[in-house]
């Protein structure tokens, strides 16, 4: 009798165990996809139609407010910049002058006359190399600093000073060291993104519960097994916080670095457009940069959510 009562208890508590909340950003995507389903199937299925209607209204509720605000801002902008003495172009003028840039991101008219999408890709390639390097080195250094008291005492003061150096301050010295624009730009990305990755990883590793360390000790995990099986999964939420800050800083740094180093990146495009007074092109490029930065941030955040699904302490 007693044991069956206890088993019932177990089953009950098992069913009401904490469920992980579905992340908001992930929920919006399937909703949008369902809303675009062909309406032909609706007639025979009132339940399905109802669901489609609900999804459409929820999509509208998220999409309409920013569109309205955007429209209002555009009108204000148009009115403010329409005067003959205005220094900045209004939206209608931008549309007239930079239509090719907006409509076709991937045109190639010559070695220096290419679409903004292609320029963005060039910049992204540099970010990928620089940020990739800083992720690997940052996590390894962070693990070292988080794990060893002496490494922390030795390295932490140096990190704290170096991390305050602005990205562009590194550029002259890296140009001197690498004697080439492209590796210098990559180095600037690397050195900018690495500090938040190191610091967050170190904090994550310092916060590994003693219980997990004890488990590793009883099992006699070797350092490599400990790194992969305990350290990385346990510190993953912190590591991804660092990566997310790092990718944001990388994107900030590459635009600035490309303005100075030249080449075909989006940063140099803005600088070039300024020198030839193509203000409309600059505005379009700014919007591209903003959208790409947003997508990068969301991408790292999404990978982080995937990777740390089970890591939340229970």
């Amino acid at each position: 009798m007693k044991s069956s009562a206890a088993r019932l208890q177990l089953v009950e508590t098992a069913n009401c165990g904490p469920r992980r909340a579905v992340p908001l950003s992930a929920g919006a995507l399937p909703a949008a996809m369902i809303a675009r389903a062909p309406p032909a199937a609706d007639r025979g299925l009132p339940g399905f139609a109802k669901r489609v209607m609900q999804n459409i209204s929820s999509v509208l509720a998220t999409v309409v407010p920013p569109l309205v605000v955007l429209a209002v801002l555009m009108i204000i902008w148009e009115l403010a910049c329409s005067g003959p003495k205005s220094g900045l172009p209004p939206p209608t003028k931008i549309w007239r002058e930079a239509k090719d840039l907006i409509l076709d991101p991937f045109f190639v008219n010559g070695p220096q006359d290419i679409g903004l999408g292609l320029r963005i890709l060039t910049s992204l390639q540099r970010v990928a190399i620089g940020f990739g390097l800083s992720s690997v080195v940052g996590v390894l250094l962070g693990a070292l600093v988080g794990q060893s008291v002496w490494a922390m005492r030795g390295l932490d003061p140096i990190f704290q000073v170096l991390r305050t150096v602005p990205p562009l301050a590194w550029l002259p010295i890296s140009l001197a060291a690498f004697r080439d624009a492209s590796p210098s730009a990559i180095f600037v990305i690397f050195i900018t993104a690495i500090w938040p990755i190191i610091i967050n990883t170190a904090v994550g590793i310092r916060n590994i519960p003693q219980d997990y360390r004890n488990v590793a000790e009883v099992l006699r995990l070797n350092p490599l097994e400990y790194f992969w099986r305990i350290m990385i999964p346990s510190a993953a939420p912190y590591i991804f916080t660092g990566l997310r800050i790092g990718i944001g800083l990388s994107w900030l740094a590459i635009i600035a670095a490309e303005m100075l180093t030249g080449g075909v990146g989006i940063g140099f495009f803005i600088w070039d457009a300024w020198n030839s007074s193509r203000l409309s092109d600059i505005v379009v490029a700014l919007i591209y940069i903003g959208v790409v930065g947003f997508v990068l941030d969301r991408l790292v955040s999404w990978i982080g959510q995937l990777a740390t699904r089970g890591t939340a302490a229970s």
Partner: protein, 283 residues
């Protein structure tokens, strides 16, 4: 170490070797030093445990029970004296002294099956094939009645179930000594009773040596062959050792009115609440 099974009764046959102690805690002192402050937690602890014995250590909080268990586990070094397992000194943690921790300490990013498998792979990675290791993991989960939840993550199961998986992980290492650090402390009374029954059953089946920390008198009397009672800290030591002479298997309901059970219970209560009552200021 799992003893061979008796073909008639299907309970463990324990072959005791006379004159040779299985686990010996020999004049052990433990002093924690932090900067200038020096705290003697344990002083002159002596205890010999036979193979297959179920021993509980009971005492008020702060008496160094957990410290003693950590010394046996090798997670904390002894200051003086020695812990000897089969005549070899314990000086580091290892799978021959598997620990079930108070708060289960399962790795939350692994499923329950993977948690047990991590231990199995580590301990038997060389001697067992992949298929054998998988089967062994399943057998251990079955032993604690958790085979149905192998693909669940620890956050999806109840506290009692987590503790079951923790026990499965420890047993999977085939430890010479199973160390339980207040394993049921955080559970409700019904779940705890159910787990106590499971532990008794496992002990009867495998015949392993178990050392368990508890602060629950009934739990101690019901499960143990001997109860080790600790005096209050600092400088705690073993005050008394009570042999629980009750036949096994023991049934919870029968025990309630059993004269020997009541006598044992009274002896432990008297030790804890008369002679060594808890003094807060002593900490």
């Amino acid at each position: 170490m799992i003893a061979p099974l008796d073909p008639k009764t299907h309970t463990a046959m324990i072959v005791r070797q006379p004159g040779r102690s299985f686990l010996k805690i020999d004049h052990v002192d433990k002093v924690f030093e932090r900067g200038a402050s020096r705290t003697e937690v344990l002083r002159d602890v002596n205890l010999t445990i036979e193979q297959g014995e179920f021993v509980t250590i009971i005492g008020h909080s702060g008496c160094g029970k957990s410290t003693l268990l950590n010394l046996i586990a090798g997670l904390t070094p002894v200051t003086r004296g020695a812990v000897l397992l089969e005549d070899r000194e314990v000086n580091e943690p290892g799978p021959d002294r598997a620990v079930v921790f108070q708060n289960h300490s399962l790795l939350p990013w692994l499923t329950t099956h993977e948690n047990v498998k991590l231990a199995v792979d580590k301990v038997f990675g060389r001697v067992k094939s992949r298929e054998e290791r998988r089967e062994w993991t399943m057998r251990m989960l079955e032993l604690v009645q958790m085979a149905h939840a192998g693909d669940k993550h620890p956050s999806e199961i109840s506290g009692g179930m987590k503790q079951r998986v923790g026990i499965a992980r420890a047993l999977a290492m085939e430890p010479k000594v199973l160390l339980l650090d207040e394993p049921f402390g955080a559970l409700d009374a019904l779940t705890r009773a159910h787990l106590q029954d499971s532990v008794m059953q496992i002990h009867a089946t495998l015949g392993n040596t178990v050392i368990m920390i508890t602060h629950d008198v009934d739990e101690a009397v019901l499960l143990s062959d001997r109860i080790v009672m600790m005096t209050n800290g600092p400088s705690a030591t073993i005050g008394e050792v009570l042999t629980v002479d009750l036949p096994r298997p023991r049934r919870r309901l029968e025990m309630v009115s059993d004269a020997a059970y009541i006598r044992c219970r009274e002896a432990v209560m008297k030790f804890l609440y008369e002679r060594h009552s808890y003094v807060e200021a002593a900490e």
